[in-house]
Amino acid sequence: MILSLVFFTFSFVFYILTTALYLGYWVFKKKWLGQTATAMAFVALMSTSMILISRAGESGHAPFSNLWESMMLFVWATNAGYLLMEYKHKFRSIGIVVMALESLAMLSALMLPYRFKSVEPLNPALQNKWHWMTDLLSTWGLEKYAIGWLDFHVFTTFIGYAGFAISFGLSILYLIKEKSEEKSQRSSLVESFPPARTLDELSYRAIAWGFPFLAVGIVSGAVWANYAWGTYWSWDPKETWSLITWFIYAAYLHARVTRGWRGKRAAYISIAGFLAVIFLYWGVSFVLPGLHAYAS
């Protein structure tokens, strides 16, 4: 309990530092600042991993069972996704939006009341381990490390959320950049972002990762529900909102195939999609009742 909160405090500082470094790189355009920012983002990623690992050690199960733990997973996945993207496409200037989002997420996790952070044993409905994995690991006496539908369902869903968060940041950048390109204003701050077309494409790539993972998350939740309770789908608010989000991103992907729906309109859909994600994640948990209401 203590250890994971200590790592949390460290990570929080790391994310603020990372954001500040990316901000410095954006404003002053010094290469060494950018490199330090990337290194710091990596340190923050390691530190976030330690939160998750230490929490798993403290609770005895994968750390996906309350709002605070899931926030850590979200922060971790978004950071990992961003660093992969930076490594692959070498656009460092977009780090500022992603890391600002990360700092915000850490801040909101910090402000959660204590009862959403504490180590909780799993309630009966959440205890699920895959038989084949338990059997396989028991050959080496490691069966307590077996995972199950809960872990798979939550993990895939949050990779989805991470993809959408990155796409959201990129879509906002796109709209800013697009506006300045349209007016052909020369602003050295906007100048350092990649061209609008590239931002549009990157935003699409992030959704191309998020969408299938969210789908797998939804479907695995349904398959698990059918296995555990005998019903695939019961239109509980979380389920419905996940479907709403999925419909929005499905619309995004289909819109891209149609000419004239790229660029601005796509960016708006992506932003709407992420707002739906935020409501799906926080709004449903706090406002609407149901199985997924961590806050009840």
Partner: protein, 472 residues
């Protein structure tokens, strides 16, 4: 035949149902419809999460007032996800998927199979691609050809070479199957939908509560189920860890299978699943009761006697013996049918029925109440009364039953969906056209092509080719 007559005849042939049919077909073969339906579904689904579903009418009245309740009931917002108009949206999406797949898949399949150029292409074609590169090399066209083929082979491209020495044409391709990703994904959605429909029509859901030791027959099946044990596991902190039941399948009077089930671990037998879903105290059975005698003219009760269910027990110090034959948790009496029943599953007004024997003769069968001792005399014309003071309950386990023959189709759909996503998002169809032309001492290489998604990858690929050609 004159033109007009021909047209008229054609018009006769194009009967109304054909035109209507094709109109409907083209209505559903539209990406705009897809966008419309997806966004509409997203928006209307929100209502169902705001307005509580399947609540009693009175609740809507208190929450929204009478007028709005009327609208809610009229538009079925109170059970929105099963309202005809919501299902119509889903059906439109399904039809949209089916029609689009039928319309787009065959030509796509054909063009994918038959994609190679039959004869050497026009070099001007390359200029039309947005992704293109031109390099001039100090090497012979044959050397360039070798390097190019080596690159394509290393990157697992398929290649056709055309043209003659000094003027080569190449067409290379990779990841054709990625084009099918969207179709595979769409088919998987239809499969999952089909599985859900099969499950809801051919299967059934049921629920029963079994007392520990009790047996129930399973609907639409040739076997019975016995509950041997029920217990709750707790964490050290006192929180509930798990609910457990031990179930035995009884077929033709024999025990054929025994399994401990808990939440997340159902019993599966002959296509039917049994889930742990609730528990409680039985309302029609107890293990044992405590009965005390009340003697006339004497203060207080005699020492209580434990009476086990169904066992004749003598009451010490008296000529009577009793047998516990009935229990009801929330006693109620129906005068019309002259029957006793339990008003609820809770033990609000527990009562037992005993048979009282004097020697070998049954003298009475009274109901005794914990809450109302002595309300009716237990034994008529006797100095002895009986008082029901306490009991040990029997637990029941609530078991949900689900027969779902659609499960396998849903599983198949899920696997197909995984495959579809990999193809749709991570396998890119790349096509590259290259023209190699030797001009005197140097060789000009012009290349260009397309990728169906992820332009970054493609730009990098073209750069890689250039690099592999220029560096030795």
């Amino acid at each position: 035949m004159p033109e007009k007559a021909k047209e008229a005849q054609a018009g006769m042939e194009a009967r109304w149902y054909r035109t209507l049919g094709s109109k409907i077909w083209y209505f559903f073969n539209s990406l705009k419809l897809t966008l419309f339906v997806l966004i509409s579904l997203a928006v209307v689904s929100i209502f169902g999460t705001v307005v509580e579903q399947n609540a009693p009418v009175e609740q809507y009245v208190t929450q929204y007032g009478e007028q709005w309740t009327k609208y809610i009931l009229y538009t079925r917002l109170n059970d929105m996800y099963h309202a005809w108009w919501f299902l119509a949206f889903l059906a439109a999406l399904a039809l949209n998927i089916i029609v689009c797949t039928f319309e787009r898949f065959p030509p796509k399949w054909k063009s994918l199979l038959d994609h190679k150029p039959e004869k050497k292409f026009d070099s001007g074609l390359i200029d039309k691609f947005s992704h293109r590169e031109t390099v001039t090399l100090n090497a012979s066209s044959d050397a360039v050809k070798d390097r190019l083929l080596k690159f394509f082979k290393k990157k697992k491209y398929g290649v056709v070479s055309m043209g003659t020495k000094g003027d080569y044409y190449f067409y290379a391709w990779k990841g054709r199957i990625g084009r099918l990703g969207s179709d595979v994904t769409h088919i998987s959605l239809l499969l999952i939908l089909a599985g859900a429909i099969v499950g809801s029509y051919a299967g059934y859901k049921d629920f029963f509560a079994v007392n520990v030791g009790g047996t129930v027959s399973v609907p639409q099946a040739e076997f019975k189920l016995r509950l041997d044990k029920f217990w709750i596991d707790y964490y050290d902190s006192g929180q509930i860890k798990q609910y457990n039941s031990v179930l035995t399948v009884v077929e033709d009077g024999k025990d054929v299978m025994e399994k401990q089930i808990w939440v997340n671990e159902p019993l599966f037998y002959k296509g039917i699943r049994f889930y742990q879903s609730s528990y409680g105290q039985s309302w029609n059975r107890i293990q044992e009761a405590q009965i005390s005698m009340k003697l006339k003219g004497k203060e207080g009760l005699e020492a209580p006697v434990t009476v086990k269910w169904g066992e004749l027990t003598s009451l010490p110090g008296s000529k009577y013996s009793v047998k516990l034959v009935g229990y009801t948790g929330d006693f109620a009496y129906d005068e019309d049918t002259n029957t006793v029943f339990s008003k609820s599953a809770e033990a609000t007004n527990p009562a037992i029925k005993v048979e009282v024997y004097d020697g070998g003769k049954e003298v009475s069968t009274p109901w005794l109440f914990v809450k109302y001792p002595g309300i009716f005399p237990a034994i008529p014309n006797s100095d002895t009364d009986l008082v029901f003071t306490g009991y040990i309950p029997v637990m029941y386990s609530g078991i949900s039953v689900n027969k779902d023959p659609g499960t396998n189709i849903v599983w198949l759909g899920t696997s197909v969906m995984g495959l579809g996503f990999i193809l749709a998002f991570f396998v890119y169809h790349r096509r590259i056209w290259v023209h190699v032309r030797e001009t005197g001492k140097s060789t000009e290489v012009k290349m260009g092509g397309t990728i169906n998604k992820n332009n970054f990858v493609f730009e990098k690929e073209l750069k890689d080719i250039t690099e592999s050609l220029t560096s030795d």
